[in-house]
């Protein structure tokens, strides 16, 4: 743990913001106010934040259908995201993308994605762009990163992307978030390498790491090593697998009949990355409960403000359906 008070507070704030964002959506979706399909990231916050806290705007990420956490961690505007999920013309994507297609290119966030496994090849392309641009004055490359779940690890696109990255020595990082469920199917069934995704990446010829994704510090420390390796010109890609937990269903409305008895309660009690973080930093007297409670309150308020803003956001007009298909046509 090498983080100072400010960095620790910031990391906790980011995780808490994601948590409250998702918990609030879980409630709002049940009222029918929000349209479409939504996949919540609750439980996995330590991965997005432990990874993205290391990145700069030059680094690019590609996300998944479960992308709100990655977007927030990479710096997407909370109000802009909430408005997008509300389908507002003022949303980050003018209400054209919604939950599954949030992007903010200027922030290096190249898009959540509705197609499982589609992000990895795009990340390799962005990484090749970074390779062309070459190292900065410190001799380090900007990287591109694909978040993938244990579901995406079974897609051919992911395999193709890993091999292409190795062959071209692209500064690309494959972050696998193993939350043990690809949609409604267990990883024991769906991943032939039995709960081990990193070994697949290793078989493609890249260096791999593994860590507990519910422990922010494990994620943060591990990813620092991964990043240092991939930023070094000539090394090429790497992969890291984080063992994590998903607190909600695959999508909002998923009855989750595949869960074991008491499983969700146990996960919330024992595998909650926010609780683990709090216990860790208060136990080591790095931050106290009052500090963290203040962050909690601020995060709740930020989400409340975002929902208020989203409800008041301008609605798209029918003619907006034609906007932005092409730049010129």
């Amino acid at each position: 743990m090498q983080l100072n008070r400010e960095a620790l507070t910031r990391a906790y704030r980011q995780m808490k913001l994601i948590r409250e964002f998702e918990e609030r959506l879980h409630e709002e979706i049940q009222t029918g106010e929000i349209a479409g399909f939504t996949h919540l990231y609750c439980g996995q916050e330590a991965v997005a934040v432990g990874v993205c806290e290391h990145l700069t705007e030059r680094d690019k990420i590609v996300s998944t259908h479960r992308g709100h956490g990655h977007c927030l961690a990479k710096g997407c505007d909370v109000d802009g995201m909430m408005k997008e999920i509300w389908g507002s013309q003022d949303g980050l994507c003018n209400g054209k993308g919604g939950s599954m297609h949030i992007a903010d290119i200027d922030k290096g966030m190249l898009g959540a994605n509705g197609i499982v496994g589609a992000g990895a090849p795009i990340a390799v392309g962005a990484a090749l762009s970074n390779k062309i641009d070459g190292p900065d004055e410190d001799g380090k490359l900007a990287i591109a990163l694909a978040f993938s779940g244990d579901g995406a690890c079974n897609q051919g696109t992911t395999f193709e992307a890993m091999n292409l990255a190795v062959v071209t020595k692209a500064p690309c990082i494959f972050v696998f978030e193993n939350n043990h469920y690809s949609e409604h199917t267990g990883v024991d069934y769906a991943v032939g390498t039995v709960q081990d995704i990193a070994s697949r990446a290793e078989a493609f010829g890249m260096k791999v790491w593994r860590a507990d994704g519910t422990d922010f510090f494990a994620v943060h420390d591990t990813f620092r090593e991964v990043l240092e390796y991939v930023r070094t010109p000539g090394n090429g890609p790497a992969a890291v697998e984080f063992d994590t937990e998903r607190f909600f269903g695959h999508f909002e409305g998923d009855p989750q009949r595949y869960r074991g008895e008491g499983e969700l309660d146990r996960l919330r009690a024992e595998r909650d990355c926010l609780k683990i973080f709090r216990a860790s930093v208060t136990g080591a007297a790095l931050l106290d409960d009052a500090d963290l409670d203040k962050v909690d309150a601020d995060a709740l308020q930020a989400i409340e403000d975002a929902v208020t803003a989203a409800r008041a956001g301008a609605r798209p007009q029918p003619e907006n359906v034609l906007d932005n298909v092409y730049i010129s046509y």
């Binding site: 993308g97 992007a103 090849p121 795009i122 062309i132 071209t168 932005n324 298909v325 092409y326 730049i327």
Partner: protein
């Protein structure tokens, strides 16, 4: 003006644009060729000889020889473009689009729309396409019907060396994603090419390949060549045909087609793709909707049958449109009533 093959018009234009703009990069299977072999890089230089010499001139960062991984090629082109480069990806045969479809159709085509106009994806996807080499069902197809139907993608089908040059330069400089359908059978075609280093042909402007007042023939790619031959033969009998080379199927120069049909009142659409839900049906529908009052005869479509592309020479010939089939269709419109 210089006399160039269609192949060299494409190659030279890409080469010049890579010299002019360092954001332009090339990627695809065997675009270098020979990587990892005793022969070494450039042992092949692209199986269509459209990227010969690129690796030596621009190096491995900008001339990216990929494994056989069409999804990764297409996706990487999308990622390169989102990150500010201007990639030209080669899908060795257009038929392989199936492997890479998601990355084109769900990703590249939709980025800008899904992201509310906040992304730019200037990728060019080259797809050598078409029949005539007895390459059978998986190496011969015309896939214009798939890509033309994708909002967000522009689709180019050059017929002449000059158009290959001007449309390729426009494709590379265009800020939208472009699918560039090169017809394999046209690579050897020679013609005069404008040497102006900024020569571009804007998309959505058809070319009048032959002029005549009796029947309008609308075609694209290799089919324009067949239509020209048919028109020349018919001219011997005093039948005049407008042959409209649409050049780009998306955007489409509707005006050129409709203006011609309003004069001739007769239309023959020639398309190398199978007939259902195709360019041929699309253009027929356009004419039926917007030039109905001008029509003197039913619209004729000259297309392959609703079958895969067959292998044997006799079968492939039977499958493909030909000048004779086009001429027969023209006469049919004239004989109506």
């Amino acid at each position: 003006m210089a006399k160039l093959t269609y192949r060299d018009a494409i190659r030279n234009t890409m080469f010049q644009e890579m010299q002019r703009d360092e954001r332009v990069v090339v990627l695809g299977e065997d675009v270098v060729g020979g990587m990892g072999t005793a022969g070494g890089p450039e042992a092949i230089g692209g199986i269509w000889s459209t990227t010969t010499g690129f690796y030596d001139a621009f190096g491995p960062n900008r001339v990216i020889d990929t494994p056989i991984s069409e999804s990764a090629i297409m996706g990487a082109a999308g990622g390169l473009a989102l990150a500010g480069k201007r990639p030209i990806a080669e899908i060795m045969f257009a038929d392989f689009i199936g492997v890479s479809m998601d990355q084109l159709w769900n990703q590249i085509a939709k980025f800008r729309y899904m992201f509310g106009g906040k992304s730019v994806c200037p990728a060019v996807i080259r797809m050598p396409c078409g029949a005539g080499y007895n390459a059978a069902a998986q190496h011969s197809q015309m896939i214009s019907q798939f890509v033309t139907g994708m909002p967000g993608i522009k689709v180019v089908m050059p017929t002449t060396p000059e158009d290959a040059c001007g449309l390729m330069r426009q494709a590379i400089r265009d800020d939208d994603p472009v699918v560039f359908l090169e017809h394999k059978f046209l690579y050897g075609l020679t013609g005069e090419v404008n040497e102006d280093p900024d020569f571009c042909i804007p998309f959505g402007h058809a070319r009048l390949a032959r002029a005549g007042k009796d029947v309008t023939i609308v075609a694209s790619g290799m089919m324009v060549r067949y239509a020209e031959t048919a028109a020349d033969d018919l001219a011997q009998d005093g039948i005049g045909c407008d042959v409209i080379d649409i050049r780009t199927t998306s955007p489409l120069d509707e005006e050129a087609i409709l203006d011609s049909v309003e004069v001739t009142g007769r239309a023959v659409i020639v398309d190398e793709a199978p007939p259902r839900c195709s360019l041929a049906t699309d253009l027929s529908s356009l004419i039926a909707q917007k030039a109905f009052a001008s029509l003197k005869a039913p619209i004729e479509m000259v297309t392959p049958p609703h079958t895969p592309v067959p292998f044997a020479r006799e079968l492939e010939s039977a499958y493909l449109p030909s000048p004779a089939k086009i001429a027969a269709a023209v006469r049919k419109t004239l004989d109506y009533r």
